[in-house]
Symmetry: C2
Subunit: 259 residues, 2 copies
Amino acid sequence: MIQLVLVGTGNLATHLFWAFQQSSVVQVVQVVGRRRASLKSFATHTAVTTDHTQILPADVYVLAISDNAIASVAASLPVSNAVVLHTSGSVPMEALVKHQHRGVFYPLQTFSKNKRIDFSDVPLCLEASDKKTMQVLEKLAQSISQQHYLLNSTQRGALHTAAVFVCNFVNHLYQIGFEITGENKLPFELLLPLIKETAAKVATMTPFDAQTGPAKRNDTQTIDTHRNRLQEKHHKEIYNLLTHSIYRLHQEQLNNKLG
Amino acid sequence: MIQLVLVGTGNLATHLFWAFQQSSVVQVVQVVGRRRASLKSFATHTAVTTDHTQILPADVYVLAISDNAIASVAASLPVSNAVVLHTSGSVPMEALVKHQHRGVFYPLQTFSKNKRIDFSDVPLCLEASDKKTMQVLEKLAQSISQQHYLLNSTQRGALHTAAVFVCNFVNHLYQIGFEITGENKLPFELLLPLIKETAAKVATMTPFDAQTGPAKRNDTQTIDTHRNRLQEKHHKEIYNLLTHSIYRLHQEQLNNKLG
């Protein structure tokens, strides 16, 4: 059994806790948080503390905390032979430089409260300071997921940036769809099959081939109709920028074919 | 049996054809196209023609053609007692004004070649000039889908605009994810579980509640790291605009709570 201390009580920490609880390879021996209230849901299952001087001995320390806090919390952990990991997409592994056996355990997924995640489908992006640490990381990864990837800090940073586009920004476009349907007394649910199919398509074809709509076709009449219909200034700005970007990409391709 | 003539041979026409072929209520008696080559795949299943003077008598004429062509093709159809429909999200029903029984049959979905669609899950947005026509439309809709909605032209136009955001623009963000992963020698497939979960989340929570990421948290350090990492000028522009839009929306909400 890998004895593990989890530092953090947010969305990711909570999801990781429940994933590890279901694994037979890992035992979460303690959860460390800043406030007693946020530790409450863990306290019936394992030891908890708010006091960094009371952290238990363990094989692995997982810092599932905000990016800004990683360096300082890592510095406050006592130096030992244990493996110290963070879970961030954008913080380099070297933020943990004080610890000889350090690594990154970055689950590429969006975590919200009250929405359970099936970890077996979550790609885990691993980076380690040395072979022995990587072996521990791989054991941890295999205990909760079917897929893990070895990425260096640069690749992980790029992946995190890509994730912002395909998740955070995509969700904001859903938000705009929500606003437009709401303004017109239409149920947002009407858009769900389209949202689902749009996501499903890129599993079997490239986003380039999957592109449809007036911007790709340069259907200026429909584009003008949409522009006139949009009420909000920032909806219009986003409409214009993305329409232009799609048009340019597909126009370029068209010109290459003709040229 | 409803005898139906399908005008058009593109993606939507093809998907509709196969949906109607599987229905026991509708018989596609003819497909009308501009070029003989594009009619080939239909010709083994039903009558086909490129000649508008050879269009067969039918109960319903469905124009599944480009928006720009609807008015002129509708005008070229002989006036009769039959129902004439178009399938466009953005063209008003009145483009068919020459025909007494006119309507709109707009399937809210993204259709690509070589990707079968399960029509039973596609919301059909219906509009009709009169009660009798609406009855025919509902019969048609029920023959291929489990959900249909009665929308007027304004609502349909709004829905079509919303669809551009949640489908065409979303797909373009997938494209940018594809470009960023490619530039960094990472498989695009790494992003698929995240894409899937991001789409699935808004079926059970609002996009507002589902929002995650640095823009929402106003995590300026991570945002700056992403900005510096982005190579392409238009990736940067899209990053900046959407980050600002997310920040503004969630900041407003925060201020409302505090205020």
